[in-house]
Subunit: 466 residues, 2 copies
């Protein structure tokens, strides 16, 4: 490992500009974001162009100095953690272009643009990026591509991989790979850009992208639904997906103890009272429909679902305030951590037909590890992505990590699920990566890493990168 000497630093400043390079205490101007070690490098450069980005990368490459790419710094897997001797390369100054081509239904966007900014620009033209997540105000497009972000709309619009039509990437050798297609159909050999999607900045730095847009649906009807069990929740999801009367926009699931704890911590009394219903889990459904917002149509579907025994009961939001309260129960996941700290977090994918059994069996496996551990489960019903917080509320919970992880990952591969759904591997899931990804698959990944980043300067210590 090399370190940054005065010569390299002055070369970097010459390439990027002195006003976009900080080291030492000057770095305190930045919010470290989700991990307190994100800025441990104490050295941040935020080039204004892809060309300057590539130039700085080449300088680091020639000096064998490591680079840690930064987007919004709100990733949950430790992919942006840095240490002294490394250079943090931030995309925050690559944020001038948000170009919406309404007729072609695409957006050309710089990597540093926040998701909420793209959503705002697209909505002015009646369009949407077709992807949404709770971190929309911090997450950057480049970071979302590098982590292959998922979110609430993946069941109908896919994940970030399915939104990207074109990509521009700055490479460690100073080259810029440009494949800025505006079209869905293009078969021009191996699709190299797919490798950068979800690579967590270990191969290059995404500087610009072309994304597919979707029509912006207007009006929505939102309900909180009490479902007897996982199977009935999946049946409700299918019913709404197949409905001729409503278009399903979101379907989020929360198991009973998650919903109750969150509603209580948020002080939402009437929702908390509703959660006394004899339900194994609660589902938030949001629909677009004909008319004002499709409330009547949604109520009709819910009545049929109740007749079919798929749901116990439901509350339909009658105002924007009621709607935001329902969503708060789901999105304020910190309320679980405030009530029961020292949580172990997991982010797994489970095929829809297995989700009820998986959570039930998981509870039994976790109880066998330690009877004091509680499993708080919630996630995206439409794609089977579960977010789990497992804790006793006591500091000792941390010591159980390996055994709890084994309980969470048990059998997932056999049923076609994934130990790593949408947050990425980062630093947090490297052990699981080695255990659960086949050696021959990892060997091909290492060969690709060696090809794109022969000196191993890109985001070491993350994903497969040493």
């Amino acid at each position: 490992v090399s370190h940054i000497d005065d010569k390299l630093w002055s070369d970097i400043i010459a390439a990027a500009g002195a006003d976009v390079a900080w080291h030492g205490d000057a770095v305190d101007r930045f919010d470290p974001g989700f991990h307190d070690r994100n800025l441990a490098a104490r050295c941040v450069v935020a080039p204004r162009t892809a060309k300057a980005m590539a130039a700085v990368m080449r300088l680091c490459n020639d000096s064998r100095v490591s680079i840690v790419p930064h987007g919004g710094r709100t990733g949950l897997a430790g992919g942006a953690v840095s240490k002294p001797g490394q250079v943090v390369l931030s995309t925050e100054n690559l944020a001038s272009m948000v170009s919406i081509h309404a007729r072609a239904r695409i957006a050309q966007v710089d990597a540093g643009v926040r998701l909420s900014a793209l959503q705002a620009a697209a909505s002015k033209q009646g369009l949407s990026p077709g992807i949404d997540l709770a971190a929309r105000d911090s997450a950057t497009i480049g970071g979302m591509i590098s982590t292959n972000a998922g979110g609430n709309e993946a069941f109908r619009n896919g994940v970030m991989r399915h939104r990207v039509l074109g990509l521009e990437v700055a490479m460690p050798n100073g080259e810029i790979l440009r494949d800025l297609k505006h079209v869905t159909k293009a078969n021009e050999g191996y699709d190299i850009k797919q490798l950068f999607i979800g690579a967590e900045g270990t191969l290059g730095i995404v500087t610009r992208a072309v994304l597919k847009l979707e029509p912006l649906a207007s009006g929505h009807a939102t309900a909180l639904v009490a479902c007897p069990d996982g199977q009935s929740a999946v049946s409700l999801f299918s019913r709404l997906q197949n409905s001729a009367d409503v278009t399903l926009a979101a379907a989020e699931m929360m198991w009973r103890n998650y919903a109750q704890t969150s509603a209580e911590a948020c002080g939402l009394r009437s929702l908390r009272a509703f959660m006394e219903a004899p339900a194994e889990l609660f589902v938030i459904v949001e629909c677009h429909g004909p008319g004002e917002g499709g409330e009547e149509a949604l109520e009709g579907e819910l009545a049929s679902a109740a007749e079919a025994g798929e749901i116990h009961d439901a509350v339909v939001a009658r105002s924007e305030r009621e709607r935001s309260e329902i969503w708060r129960v789901r999105e304020d996941s910190w309320s679980i951590d405030r009530t029961y700290p020292h949580g172990l977090w997991f982010d797994v994918s489970v095929p829809l037909d297995r989700i009820g059994d998986y959570v039930r069996d998981l509870r039994a496996r976790v109880a066998a590890v330690d009877g004091d551990l509680m499993v708080f489960a919630m996630g995206h019903l439409g794609d089977g992505n579960l977010h789990l917080t497992i804790t006793s509320g006591q500091p000792e919970a941390r010591q159980q990590y390996d055994r709890v992880a084994a309980a969470v990952y048990h059998g997932l591969a056999d049923i076609g699920g994934s130990f790593s759904a949408e947050h990425g591997i980062g630093t947090e899931k490297r052990a699981a990566f080695k255990t659960h990804v086949a050696p021959e698959m990892r060997a091909f990944m290492s060969a690709i890493k060696q090809t794109f980043d022969p000196h191993g300067i890109m985001n070491p210590g993350k994903l497969l990168s040493e």
Copy 2:
């Protein structure tokens, strides 16, 4: 280049079974499919399991004998062409599994299964593969993955890359890479399976896949619409995409001379008469809607489009026969070749906002090459994929290939289009591949080829493979 000796052949027979290996005249039992040189190897092996497939590949690899993978043999780019000394490895006996998991909305399918067989199995459960193309009765799932097939529904469901959740691939070294995920969200390092999608069998042979399914829409309303120009056609498309009353299932475009020639060749007199309308192009729109099939809703939208000047006139199909006649004009593209032979074919993607201008400018460029050349253009309106037949009807047309190709590809990259949309590179577009794909991109592709197929035995002479 090595050749098949008796020892290798007996080893292959031992690995795959004598009843699934043919050479010499025995190969005449097969239909060569689209290219008469597809079976020029005179040696076909069709293993019954992925394991046997991998074993045969390893034998060939060890002997440095080349392999040409075959699916349905109806590819249009020459990707299945073979020559003496090579072994054709067919997936036709990998066709026993078509397993629909209705609640999880996925299908697990062997590579040799035909698209129409998957469609039939899925439709029994109210589901659809979400991809459809005219070659549905011949195209295999493995071939569609290897060419990243597109088709009519790509504007809403993406191309094959967006349908694949999991993949199993037999590798030249005899390994089987297995990543048979059943879920949309999985981030487990670089997504190796993306490299096989669209690789045209130059890296390995896809043996099984997990595909995402979509709800099967019931009922349809179909219309043939006369549009003043490309821009108005795109406006009509946007209108129907945004409609709260209908769900757009297909939008296919045919320029005037294509539509007229095809209707005439098919003997469809009343449609041919309709095509006297003063329109630059004709669009087939097919919608799902509330009620019987949404005919009324579609008529309502078309009336609004007429008021807005987006369309001249329209005929709505009143029977299944009328519907199939409308589709025949589009799908029987051979009618152009029968009427005007010696056509040069192209398959390009053009961003929607440029499509009208592109075709108009292309006519001018082609006229500058040779005033006798005619441009017949049709394609998928929703994704801007144009299929072009350019010919004078005379054998001399062939000699103009290079100049016509230059006219077709002119400016496409600058506007974010593609010289190769959905048919692939194969043998036919290798020259264009070298001209239009950046050298640094090709260098990375070559490195990947070298990693996966170090002895270069997989489908030589196709795509980038020497």
